[in-house]
């Protein structure tokens, strides 16, 4: 047997490791999803009393709603982009189809997603009417109107769908671009030294692409924050602070976009110089 052939136990070990990794990742995603669903559905409550309708509580409650879903979506988008870019061959039909869809979704202004959420998904879930007139008897001591649980879950699905369509394409697109920005000679120099695909990714590609991937994730989340401004309007109709909150969230989105572009400016040229 030649010096570079792989023995049967090694092959078996490799296959077993891949299987275990697949199961762990799958289980982690399902667990995250279920936890999110449970906690979120319980947390969607509308402040109906003036006691808590300040800027801070609504800011926190909306961040609580948006950030976990967005983070999960970004995580999923980044993972999916790695699969597209690193494992699917360039000639693959699936890849070109997904890339064209992603390009389409990225170009849609986030405002339209908000309108979509309000007009289509929310009316379909028949939640907006309920929120519009919270029954008085349901108000609890904290001044929060509890919405019936099945409506919460419907709303959670509606919001999640919108966020997923909005955040995942941006995360996929920016991550793909970040991975492409790592020059081929760097990858090949690691390959010809005998590194396997994972080692090339972990040792060479990810460290160089990380700033861009992070900036892309930042961009994706800021996009979801921008649409959150509209969703706040749905959540808390009839309270006085809406324009303030709208401005606040637009400001937050703007800030995050600025930070992400700064990240690109500061870190990317520095690594690209040595790439």
């Amino acid at each position: 047997m030649a010096i570079f052939s792989m023995t049967r136990p090694e092959l078996r070990k490799k296959i077993a490791l891949q299987g275990i990794a697949f199961i762990i990742v799958g289980a982690a995603f399902i667990f995250l999803w279920n936890t999110l669903k449970k906690t979120q559905a319980a947390n969607i409550q509308t402040p109906s009393s003036s006691r808590i309708s300040g800027t801070l509580p609504s800011l926190l409650s909306d961040l609580n709603l948006i950030l976990p879903i967005s983070l999960l979506a970004v995580l999923f988008g980044v993972a999916f982009a790695f699969y597209l870019e690193e494992w699917l061959p360039t000639t693959s039909k699936v890849r070109s189809f997904i890339e064209s869809q992603v390009a389409f979704f990225v170009e849609i202004p986030s405002l339209l997603y908000g309108l979509l959420a309000i007009t289509v998904l929310f009316s379909y879930a028949d939640v907006s009417k309920e929120i519009g007139t919270p029954p008085i008897q349901n108000i609890n001591e904290a001044g929060l109107a509890a919405i019936p649980l099945q409506h919460n879950i419907a709303m959670f699905y509606a919001e999640t769908l919108v966020f997923i369509f909005m955040v995942i394409p941006v995360a996929i697109k920016t991550t793909q671009e970040a991975l492409r920005s790592v020059a081929t000679p760097i990858r090949e120099s690691a390959y010809v030294l005998g590194a396997n695909h994972w080692q090339v990714l972990a040792n060479r590609v990810v460290p160089l692409a990380l700033p861009r991937i992070l900036a892309g994730g930042c961009r994706a989340i800021s996009r979801s924050l921008a649409v959150a401004a509209l969703l706040i309007g749905v959540h808390i109709p009839g309270t006085r602070g809406i324009p303030d909150r709208f401005m606040l969230f637009l400001g937050g989105a703007l800030l995050l976009s600025t930070i992400s572009s700064f990240l690109i400016e500061i870190y990317v040229p520095a690594t690209a110089r040595h790439g």
Partner: protein, 261 residues
């Protein structure tokens, strides 16, 4: 060296090797035997499949999805397209140096240890061992005197000539048998070219070199055997001096006497 598996000492043997990029056939029925322990050069006009042939030998070509390969390549007596071949191990035995020096954007020290580290378990190499490995590798490419105080310097900030030598040095700790070189001197000046050629001659006994070059004078200077390729076909393979002075094939004659094109 490899006499158990093949009667003569050939490092690389191909049988009817054909390769397609999509619909375009880049290699047409290449049959070649590359002898062990000496320098063989590949010459020919641009786009005639020299680099493609070279990149077949460590299967780097396969990274692109649209490549189809047919035929057989035996390296050190083993068909590298067999199912049980492990690519990392193959690439450990068959090193490669590129046209443009491409050291990794880490320190000189880490560059040399990179290959070794990915092939050995975590923390299995002690500090003393790694110091020694780095010194040996740099000494054998004549860089130790220049770089012994600069081991922590980022490798991409060195001179091009030093970078290219470093790219050769980082292969050595893996103890490869064959080193493939894809126009290793085209980015270097005369002095750098001379230094790399000198290095190849010193190392030639230990390693088998296969070098793609556009520089005919270089092919003549360094290589013992020479292969002329034209439009994906292997036209002529023979002793360098014979191929340059008394070429058997009219196409080879046209090329080596600069009447081509």
């Amino acid at each position: 060296m490899n006499s158990q598996t093949t009667p003569t000492n050939y490092s690389i043997e191909t049988e009817n090797l054909s390769l397609w990029y999509g619909d375009f056939q880049a290699l047409i029925d290449v049959n070649v035997k590359i002898p062990d322990g000496q320098i063989t050069s590949l010459i020919g006009p641009s786009g005639c499949g020299k680099t493609t042939l070279l990149r077949c030998f460590n299967r780097v070509n396969e990274r692109y999805g649209n490549v189809t390969t047919k035929g057989k390549i035996e390296i050190l007596g083993k068909n590298i397209y067999d199912a049980d071949v492990s690519l990392p191990e193959l690439r450990k035995s068959v090193g490669m140096v590129f046209q443009r020096p491409n050291p990794l954007p880490i320190s000189v020290y880490d560059n040399i240890l990179f290959g070794l580290r990915i092939h050995s378990p975590v923390r299995s190499i002690t500090q003393a061992e790694s110091d020694q490995i780095v010194e040996e590798a740099l000494t054998s490419v004549f860089l130790w005197e220049d770089l012994k105080d600069k081991l922590k310097v980022r490798a991409t900030s060195l001179q091009l000539e030093q970078q290219q030598k470093l790219c050769i040095a980082r292969l050595l700790p893996l103890k490869p048998r064959i080193i493939l070189m894809d126009e290793p001197c085209s980015a270097l000046d005369t002095k750098g070219t001379f230094a790399v050629e000198e290095l190849m001659e010193v190392l030639a006994g230990t390693y088998t070199f296969l070098i793609v070059t556009h520089n005919m004078a270089q092919a003549r200077r360094v290589s013992k055997e020479c292969i002329y390729m034209f439009l994906g076909e292997l036209i002529e393979h023979g002793e360098t001096q014979a191929l340059f002075e008394t070429p058997q094939h009219p196409k080879t004659a046209d090329y080596v006497q600069m009447r081509y094109g």
